[in-house]
């Protein structure tokens, strides 16, 4: 079963605008990660935020984590056509020694040139 629900399911914006997508999850986590998937390809890791962190930046990416609300957001600034992809959040649970990630349902992002 999916751990996370992502919102919105689909998002279309003009190139240069900022894109924000949200993720909610259900159980306690060690960390939360965001992945990108281009059509017909595998997933690529973008950024990881630990459960004791609240915000993290990487290039044009900004991730926030609110463990009290069990939610996270991914902000992509100054979007480019190449950012068109599906974005998934994934959580690592707190079971020691089990590193499996549980993925959300994904947000399909389209950047309009």
């Amino acid at each position: 079963s999916q751990q996370g629900e992502e919102d919105p399911q689909a998002l279309s914006i003009q190139e240069g605008e900022n894109a924000t997508m949200n993720c909610s999850y259900k159980t306690s986590i060690n960390n939360l990660q965001w992945y990108r998937q281009n059509s017909g390809r595998g997933l690529v890791h973008l950024i990881l935020i630990r459960s004791n962190e609240r915000e993290k930046h990487s290039g044009r990416l900004r991730v926030t984590l609110d463990t009290s609300k069990k939610s996270s957001s991914l902000l992509i600034t100054a979007s480019r056509a190449a950012d068109t992809a599906s974005y998934f959040c994934a959580t690592e649970g707190t079971n020691f020694g089990n590193e499996k990630l549980t993925f959300g349902t994904g947000t399909r992002l389209t950047i309009i040139p």
Partner: protein, 116 residues
């Protein structure tokens, strides 16, 4: 190789056939994961190995699904007596676990299975 390699990339099977999907993880990666991704959905966990030990197979949907990693490197996911609902992309991922909270997974391109 430089990345996770999966084969075949595409497989068409008649209902009732057995299929085998192969995953070659990044050299030295201890952990290996199999996920199933239906069209338009997120990846769903199937099973997880650390070296040759299968530590979690809670996501395997039925006893028709079997995974192995006998020498702790290459893994094979086998599906017996395929059904139409098995049609999906099967993703393999590997990681090198160290301390907690460094659990980035490296994914292959996937094997797309279509059962007719």
């Amino acid at each position: 190789g430089a990345g996770v390699s999966q084969s075949p990339r595409y497989k068409v099977a008649k209902r009732g056939q057995d299929v085998a999907l192969r995953c070659d993880p990044i050299s030295g990666h201890v952990s290996l994961f199999w996920y199933q991704q239906a069209l338009g959905q997120g990846p769903e966990f199937l099973t997880y190995f650390q070296n040759e030990a299968q530590l979690d197979k809670s996501g395997l949907p039925s006893d028709r699904f079997f995974a192995e990693r006998p020498e702790g490197s290459v893994s094979t996911l086998k599906i017996q007596r395929t059904q139409q609902e098995d049609s999906a992309v099967y993703l393999c991922a590997s990681s090198f676990p160290g301390t907690l909270n460094t659990g980035e997974l490296f994914f292959g391109e996937g094997s797309r299975l279509t059962v007719l």
